[in-house]
Amino acid sequence: MPHDADGTLLAVDNLKAWYAESQALHGVNFKVKKGELVTLIGRNGAGKSTTLRSIMGIVRNRQGSIKFEGQELIGLRTFQIARKGIAWCPEERGIFSDLSVRENLTLPPHLIEGGMTDDELMEAFPNLKARASSGGTQLSGGEQQMLAIARILRNGCKFLLLDEPSEGLAPVIVKEIGNQIRQLKARGYTILLVEQNLNFARAVADRHVVIEHGQVVDQLTNEELAANVDRVKTYLGV
């Protein structure tokens, strides 16, 4: 796998992005190493989701550089970026209401060697197995989130962009999602996670990138964050 000698998988450099006329990112810089679990934290509207959407090419009006395994992603279409090995789980989960749970789960094609088979997925997410023929949006919020994460494991992408998987879920479910994410890291996935829930972020991540007003204002390891919780809380406005 060609990537920088220091193990960098993703390098975002001076990334700027726009929604129509309004600029959402003002030069974002950070790196993610292979096998790392990094969170993007910050207030609502700081540019966390936009960063993920820019990496995935959903936001197309962007400048700067996004290198994945040394290859430039700016200029590529979303489906081409996916085929490089990046998967995205959107904030609103994006479960298709016209499709059954099974159809939702099996929609992503096998792009890259090593994607999970349908049996493996059903085994890893037993709740979904029982509900396979239900409509996609008949699931509870937690089950929908499980489904949204499970289905992007099918196409074999090893770099996951997860947008606020804990949002709007009961604490017990959040814990379960946290366990799933840790298991994914243990399986060798590299994960970039957008989070506002600091406790959740601390429980799963190696490192944290703080975004404010469309720029990176701080980067801390999980240990550093533990020592500076109060400072980070001011970033989040809590």
Partner: protein, 292 residues
């Protein structure tokens, strides 16, 4: 008011209603497929239907290809035309307001119809039935070709519905109707899917045109007169709903036929009256109804 209604009149009009309904269903289905994925109100659908009939006429009169060959060739030709049209005029404006695609497809209609009228005149060209004759059912005479149209369009509608509801390809389409960017993030080439879906919908219009050629005159305006009704069908069936389009197409065709029997004065109005009622009492379904 029901005096003088003979079985011949009733069943005759029912058959005409069924035939019209078959065309309404096939054309509305193509429009619904295109609208569902692209949010494009394809105003060129009538012109593309007319092109199907014209290609069939040209195949017969210039290349000597009979109806049965045209039934396969003409839809492919029209679909290819749709593919080029999507690439040349729809893709460049895909990110603009949907009003632009509506206007540009309407402009395409005017250009296509104008060119055909320029070359072949507006009076219409005859296309003889490949299945002459029929059978006397006792209460009515059933022409073979009309029976063929009813059966063939029913099979086409059923086949398209199965394709969309029960195949992987259809699942991609249904998912992309809802959130194309998420489908694309799975690594699926959505831009190509959009092009092919438009071509497929246009091909369906072409196929309807071939079916129509032996029944109606092949004329440049055959599509535009029909399209006003088709848009009413799509609105009543729920914009973008495949099943809604098919069912509404048949039901309205038959209702229109029955109105001709029981209240002939209202026959031209009944579909628009229903559209009015639906828009007043169930407007939400028309605005966001993509489901079944």
């Amino acid at each position: 008011m029901f005096d003088g209604i003979t079985p011949q009149l009733l069943f005759g009009q029912l058959l005409i209603g069924f035939i019209n309904g078959s065309f309404y269903a096939m054309l509305a289905m193509g429009l619904a497929i295109i609208f569902g994925l692209m949010r494009v109100v394809n105003f060129a659908h009538g012109a593309q239907y007319m092109l199907g009939a014209f290609v069939a006429w040209l195949l017969l009169n210039i290349f000597g290809v009979p109806y049965w060959g045209a039934l396969f060739i003409a839809p492919v030709v029209v679909a290819a035309f749709g593919l080029v049209m999507e690439r040349l005029i729809l893709k460049p404006i895909a990110n603009l307001d949907h009003l632009y695609s509506l206007l540009i497809t309407y402009a395409a209609t005017l250009v296509i119809e104008g060119l055909i009228r320029q070359r072949y005149g507006s009076t219409g060209l005859p296309y003889s039935s490949p299945l002459p004759g029929g059978v006397n059912l006792g209460f009515m005479f059933m022409p073979w070709y009309r029976l063929w149209v009813v059966l063939f369009s029913a099979v086409t509608c059923l086949g398209t519905w199965l394709l969309i509801e029960h195949t992987k390809l259809g699942a991609y389409l249904r998912a992309a109707n809802q959130a194309p960017e998420i489908v694309e993030s799975f690594g699926i080439n959505v831009p190509r899917m959009v092009t092919l879906t438009y071509a497929f919908g246009v091909g369906l219009a072409g196929l309807s045109g071939v079916l129509a050629a032996p029944i109606y005159q092949v004329s440049p305006s055959m599509g535009s007169t029909l399209m006003i009704t088709i848009f009413a069908v799509v609105v009543i069936g729920g914009m973008g709903s495949i099943v809604g389009a098919i069912v509404t197409g048949y039901v309205l065709g038959i209702l229109e036929g029955l109105t001709k029997v029981f209240y002939p004065e209202g026959a031209n109005l009944v579909i628009f009256f229903i559209m009015l009622v639906v828009l007043i009492f169930r407007p939400g379904v028309q605005l966001n109804g993509k489901g079944n």
